[in-house]
Amino acid sequence: MTVAQLAQPWQDHSYAFLDESAKRELRRKTLKAIALPGYQVPYASREVPIARGWGTGGLQVTLSLVGPDDVVKVIDQGADDSVNAANLRRFVARMTGVKTTTDALAATLIQSRHRIPEEVLRAEQALILQVPDPEPLREVEPDISVARQMHADADYGLSWLLLYEQLVRYRRIIQGDSYPALVHGRYVMSPSPIPRWDLPKLHHSAHLTLLSAGREKRLYAVPPYTEVRPLEFDDVPYRVEDQRAFACFRTGVRNKFLNELPQGDGSSRYELSDSGYAEKLLRGDLAGPTYFDSEGKFYHDGYLQG
């Protein structure tokens, strides 16, 4: 009798790499997260063949959800061909044989680091955001046990204090990405390091958004048609990044999020961050309706002012 005889026949890996118990745990935790919008659900994050900090949380959620009929898009900073996105997409395809795409509207699952696509996502789609630090209170309370208690008590005074002091010091809110947002009127969450530009897209969205931190081992969710409001004072309206003066040098488009590219002569050029969308425009293909129209107006009566 040998150990080899006791074991199952050797397989390279399960479908989607994770074994069934790992997938089951992730799915259960995901359901719990959806049932408690904005609440961080701890989970046993497995080690996968990608380094921690490089998207293992988002990857595990994608792997637990993907099936043979899915179509997967992976982006980083909005770009499909970013090396990290390419690597993750390659891994998912290798482990599942699933179809991949750069078209945001053709995908059923979109895994993204730090951006939400410009085209409005639909009810059948799920957006999976990679999160480095799930704890919005980290800046004001580094001790995670204390922060957990603060969430339980809905004690967010310190978050407000942070914004108040930005106004006192700089006379503007200077919070850039990861703007703290109140979900379903109960939990404050970090929306992951998406720019201010992208946060309103989560408010009353048709699609499901899942946010997962592999290293910190927490996942949370924004179910469809959920209220997501950035913490803002009544008399200091939330503002997205102001890039009105700039246009994409490739497509000519304005009022979409742009990357700044420093030039040799000291000036800057700008290009669309959402490469899939840019591709469609350059090919002359039909793009879907976008969250911000060509005048920069948001597609529904959310809370964005002027």
Binding site: D153, G157, W160, L161, Y164, E165, F233, D235
Partner: protein, 270 residues
């Protein structure tokens, strides 16, 4: 009778009014140490009650319990406020206790590190209380912080300095501003002048007296300093080893102490 507390001068009322605060049968022990045994007292609206005793008398424990920071082993606590009538506050849930602490009770700790966020702005310390209570206008937060700090006679040109950079007396004023920001019915003060220079002490006491006159807040002042008690209080409770030994009008108790311990205290100090 429902009593509403407003920041105007109310005509003097007789003691036939219902007490604002009342506790009875309050006991608390920490392991083998009995911090409080069977304490009962009442505080009337707009009154100042002094609690005097030496260290180990239980007066700080009493304050923590009144601030709903801890639970006693036994006893009941009621505040005459709409929505809380007839309730024993010790048996309320966590959320309700926090709500009470934010809206209706102000506290000034002996050690400002306990009561303030030392590295945030002084105005922010006051504003936080308001924002937690639901204020969402930055302009109003600014205005309210200014007026609370001004009422505590804090120099407004330093309103955005962090308490860490301020003197002890100024830190106490920030605590005070924070405590009165929502115009609570009850103000708890733990050794508010201890550790301050004598001249600063006098100023802080003046501020407290003015606040009491103008805002009509009921105060419970804990101190081992009989001079402070005498200047501020209407009535006084003397505590020793967790028990009350004497209670009465401050002049009566300090001029004509009945209990031997009080006599000892008075003759030693005054």
């Amino acid at each position: 009778m429902t009593v509403t507390y407003r920041a105007e001068l109310l005509p003097p009322a007789l003691v036939a009014e219902r007490p604002l605060l009342s506790i009875s049968g309050v006991s608390k022990r920490y392991g083998a140490v009995r911090a409080l045994t069977d304490v009962a007292l009442e505080l009337y609206p707009r009154e100042v009650l002094g609690v005097v005793g030496e260290s180990g008398s239980g007066k700080s424990t009493l304050l923590r319990l009144l601030n709903l920071q801890e639970d006693p082993d036994a006893g009941s606590y009621s505040l005459e406020l709409p929505a809380y009538q007839g309730a024993n506050l010790f048996s309320l849930g966590r959320f309700a206790k926090r709500e009470l602490r934010v809206q209706h009770i102000g506290i000034v700790y002996q050690n400002p590190y306990q009561g303030l966020r030392m590295n945030n702005t002084s105005s922010g310390n006051v504003a936080e209380r308001l924002v937690v209570a639901g204020e969402r206008s930055f302009a109003r937060l600014r205005q309210a912080a200014r007026s609370s700090l001004a009422a505590s006679e804090f120099p407004l040109e330093r309103m955005d300095a962090p308490p860490l950079e301020l003197s002890g007396g100024m830190q106490q004023r920030v605590q005070l501003a924070k405590a009165i920001a929502l115009q609570p019915a009850l103000l708890l003060l733990d050794e508010p002048t201890t550790g301050l220079d004598v001249s600063v002490q006098a100023l802080v006491i003046d501020t407290l007296r003015r606040l009491r006159r103008e805002l009509g807040i009921a105060m419970l002042v804990v101190s081992h300093d009989l001079g402070v008690i005498r200047t501020l209080s209407d009535r006084v409770v003397v505590m020793r080893h967790g028990r009350m030994v004497e209670m009465g009008l401050v002049d009566q108790v300090l001029e004509d102490p009945q209990h031997p311990y009080t006599q000892q205290l008075v003759h030693a100090k005054l």
